[in-house]
Symmetry: C2
């Protein structure tokens, strides 16, 4: 599982370039980032993120076989989720934050916004819209069949690919600015 | 369907009070708001919101019978979604926007942020985290059975209730400030 995640991050050259371009600009530094992922999460109950456990996570499209392999051996409640890319950027001032917010929105990161302002920095969250969450079963029992799982996986892979395209646009835009 | 929605909005006294409290404050006016809802949406393909059509929407917990009644007569691809409350607020200046952002976060609206700044106003989006989206079938054919639908509905109702609790907290906080 750990191996898959590392592979995912390594493959995601686009995010690395985006982070590099931002950190090379004296107006910005990144404080956290995720390239977007598909994950299987086990929770004791709805929305109990504090006690959530990752059953599997992939930062790339997921194949049917590995997916069905992962949907084994869990307890509690199982959710399948696709999370869009997210980047937190500390900006020098409001002007530089608004400039980056504009660039992010233009590239399709429509849920972006300034999430806090301190005396010294303005903190921006760059986030997109490709998100889906599905509860799949409870107490170790899947409540949906293989055909439906295949359908879910197909749609979730599609959402992840779309968010990667947006990351590509952001990468292009930011690297052309430097 | 239309009737259900109006009933839902009418029931949502909390949101109305929040909107009223904000508009009574000279620092703020609201530009749009939604109390949170459960919706069945028909789309031609994944993420094609432009051509989406609401099959049903409810701003309150949904009963099993009305839900099963609604899951009939659709085409394309059917998604079930729970959308958390969202309020857009135009704020007088950065200070008043940051104050409201702090209040919103304290009440659990953790995805809130400043989404744009003009010469005259600072625009804040107040939004929470209770969100789930599930594709249920394609070409008019449901790919999940009744037991699974019941499970989905239960979880989605739970998420909606949780978001309403947060709206209650926000309502309490804002009305106590005025």
């Amino acid at each position: 599982m750990q191996r898959l995640e590392v592979e995912g991050i390594d493959e995601d050259e686009k995010l690395r370039r985006v982070v590099k371009a931002l950190n090379q600009n004296p107006n910005y530094f990144t404080t956290s980032s995720c390239a977007g992922r598909i994950a299987l999460i086990e929770v004791p109950g709805v929305g109990d993120k504090e006690h959530a456990r990752f059953v599997a996570k992939w930062h790339r499209r997921v194949g049917e076989e590995e997916f069905f392999d992962a949907v084994k051996g869990w307890r509690g409640e199982l959710w399948l989720t696709v999370q869009c890319p997210i980047i937190h950027v500390s900006c020098r001032d409001l002007g530089s934050a608004l400039h980056l917010l504009g660039v992010a929105k233009e590239c399709g990161f429509k849920r972006s916004g300034i999430i806090s302002v301190t005396e010294k920095r303005v903190n921006l969250e760059i986030v997109s819209t490709e998100r889906a969450d599905v509860p799949m079963g409870v107490d170790g029992v899947l409540l949906c069949d293989k055909e439906y799982l295949r359908f879910l996986l197909d749609r979730f892979n599609e959402l992840l690919s779309r968010s990667k395209e947006k990351m590509g646009k952001l990468c292009e835009k930011l690297t052309s600015e430097t």
